[in-house]
């Protein structure tokens, strides 16, 4: 399996990929594929693509509302560096955090629907908070592009093709404000990316991340429970099976 395909869960099954190719009306001969289809299929279109699990395969939420496939891949790779898989449990990738981020950007939060977006816009003191005319969709577009461009400039490789250490070095440059971005500092984008990743790890699974409540399980957080009256005075730690909000709905 190529490195590219490991990071490419968009098309979870070969069948869906085949259908896509068929429906797109393009032939996949021995000829070099250009454009979108080429990058979508990766280098070796005959190998098996990565399938997360049974649950993912049947999870209708695992699809994109806002990102382009490429933006999705960069997000998934960068989020995994913020919250990596380790002995404690899954990382951002397996928790489906990139889908969470995609879905959030598609929402009113992505366009700043409940924020004051009226001008004029002036440079601000740091104590005055966010003062740009950019909304989060635009911020992510600029920021993800910059992850990619900074990787190409530094390592002559795409961000998703970098080694772990190289990805960490790129993200560190962003966090330290070392990269020039349009309309914001790279630290601003990094912090937003970081906090959105953390949200995707721990928000109720209804939002698309925190797959199977694995984020909560690692943290011993029981999610949504009706009452803690019986344990509030207990001196020992009480471990509970977490519950998500869908436990309140009957299907």
């Amino acid at each position: 399996m190529s490195e590219q395909e490991k990071k490419e869960p968009i098309l979870d099954k070969r069948s869906s990929r085949r259908t896509f190719i068929k429906n797109s009306g393009l032939t996949v001969g021995g000829i070099v594929l250009g454009g979108a289809l080429g990058s979508l299929l990766g280098k070796d279109s005959t190998t098996e693509t990565h399938v997360h699990s049974e649950a993912t395969a049947s999870n209708a939420n695992v699809a994109l509302m806002y990102f382009t496939p490429n933006q999705y891949r960069i997000t998934e790779a960068a989020a995994e560096r913020i919250f990596p898989a380790d002995d404690n449990g899954p990382g951002a990738k397996e928790l489906l955090v990139a889908y969470y981020i995609d879905h959030q950007l598609a929402s009113g939060w992505g366009t700043g629907a409940k924020e004051y977006t009226t001008g004029p816009f002036f440079p601000a003191e740091s104590t005055q908070g966010f003062q740009s005319s950019l909304n989060r969709q635009q911020i992510f577009e600029i920021g993800l592009n910059a992850f990619e461009n900074h990787s190409l400039k530094t390592y002559e490789k795409s961000f998703t093709e970098l080694s772990e250490d190289e990805q960490i070095a790129i993200l560190t440059d962003f966090s330290e404000g070392k990269v020039e971005l349009k309309g914001m500092t790279s630290t601003y984008f990094f912090n937003l990316f970081r906090s959105t990743t953390i949200e995707g790890v721990y928000a109720d699974p209804l939002y698309g991340g925190n797959k199977d409540m694995e984020g909560w399980k690692m943290k011993n957080f029981p999610g949504h429970q009706m009452s803690y009256v019986d344990i509030i005075e207990k001196e020992e730690f009480v471990k509970l099976e977490p519950m998500a909000l869908n436990s309140q709905h009957n299907h």
Binding site: P120, W216, M218
Partner: protein, 571 residues
Amino acid sequence: MVKTLQKTDVVLVGVGWTGGILAAELTKKGYKVVGLERGKERKTEDFLMGHDELRYAQRFEMMQDLSKETITFRNNEKMRALPMRQYGSFLLGDGLGGSGSHWNGMTFRFLPYDFQIKTLTEERYGKNKIPQNMTIQDWGITYDELEPYFDKFEMMAGISGEENPLGGPRSNPYPTKPMLAPLPAKMFIESSKNLGLNPIMIPSANLSESYTNPDGISRAACQYCGFCEKFGCEYGAKADPVVTVIPVARQTGNLEVRTHSNVVEILHEGNKATGVRYIDTQTGEEFIQPADVVAITSYVLNNTRLLLTSKMGKPYDPKTRTGVIGKNYAYQNEGGNTAGFFDDKEFNLFAGTGALGACIDDFNGDNFDHTSLNFIHGANIAMSLTGNRPIANNSVRPGTPSWGKEFKAESLKYANRNLYIYAQGGSMPYAHHFLDLDPTYKDQFGNPLLRITFDWEEQDRKMNEFMGGQTSKIMKEMGATDLVTYSERGTYDIVPYQSTHNTGGVIMGDNPETSALNSYLQMWDFENVFVPGASAFPHNSGYNPTGTVGALSYRAAEGIDKYLKNGGSLV
């Protein structure tokens, strides 16, 4: 075209805690009350599926929509004020119940010292103790005069608590017993006792046991569900106007609540208001609601803004230090906090309530000697257990990176092993901290936004340093493996959440030259306008405000009744 409606006895601008209390008290007396609330109707059952950290705590489901209205902010007059585009330092309530639906419920009474702060400070330390530009003044009412109203508020809300040896005298014990104490609260209590301090459980509006209040309203006990502050309570256990005062008012048949009704102007002639002009935010229709009494109950910031945009009262001028509307804006000096990390313990930190925890008042108000200290007043020092929800709580020891492998491992390890002791300090007013209208930025209707000019002072820095010493002592005594104290106080920054305890702007006092309201919260300049809220505080104490806001609202309700009977200025 503006439509003029039938006159009512009292019109309320906003139906949160202050509006709700006025509604209950005045409708019980037979007055017709119209409550205009810009947000939507709310019911307990709305929160049945509400344990959603992202929706309520991160995306502020219950708060005012900032795209329609916000404030602008600068640290000082040399800066250009800019709009608060996203939520940060404080949150603004919206909808029936206001912030009273999603508050924590920590319910304190300000100290006797607070109400006579200027007199008592000068008596004990001499006139020089108060810096030249610190504009503290007495409130025009004493603790003893306000005590019966504190009692009324606590009985209505069913506050759960225990006698505070360092608080003002009480006519009655708390109506319900203190909340159950989780292990960290027990540790805090034991450790502060070891240090010779006087700990109590935090007085709580979350109800330790089921309770029926004097209005006959019964509520169930709190379930310690951990989704409390910034959330509504699905049990009706948390005292919220929607489950306490508003149903009482509705039962009388004398309250009409109109939601989606945004008041844009107080109308007036001579020394009287004639009513208010409001807009139905769903249809855009405009109405005039005439009334004998106008009560401005729209929270501190809009209370001040509406008076300024309606050209009522004399606006405060920081250069001449004359005028009153916008004067003495203050906040909450929360600083000198200590985080502790416990390697050998794992607490059930996911459980909790908005007002659960323990605290001390040994270093609050003038409960300690300030002779050799460079600040006045002090802080309530507390450890609260509000339920550590996982997006917001990722505490790691200092020096740990904020992302990556080490961050993940450490934030998971300490998720249920970190405790926090904080000092909620009083905030003194200064001549150059004030509220006025922004010259540039407008709300959805084209009216100017309120502009806040505020910063921390030497007083705040010195207080934080002192409190840092106290909070770290207690945390050490509690046996933390590692601890870190945050005593640094830079400039006031509107980005991180601090507290929704804004105060001042329409302050009370005993003199029309230096205050906007008399001790009934009646405007000196407009005898039929009452403005209850923390906007009436001439300074902020080392406590959450609502216990005192509630008491003042009961006092205002009594004032309105007197006014409707006899007319004229009540003082």
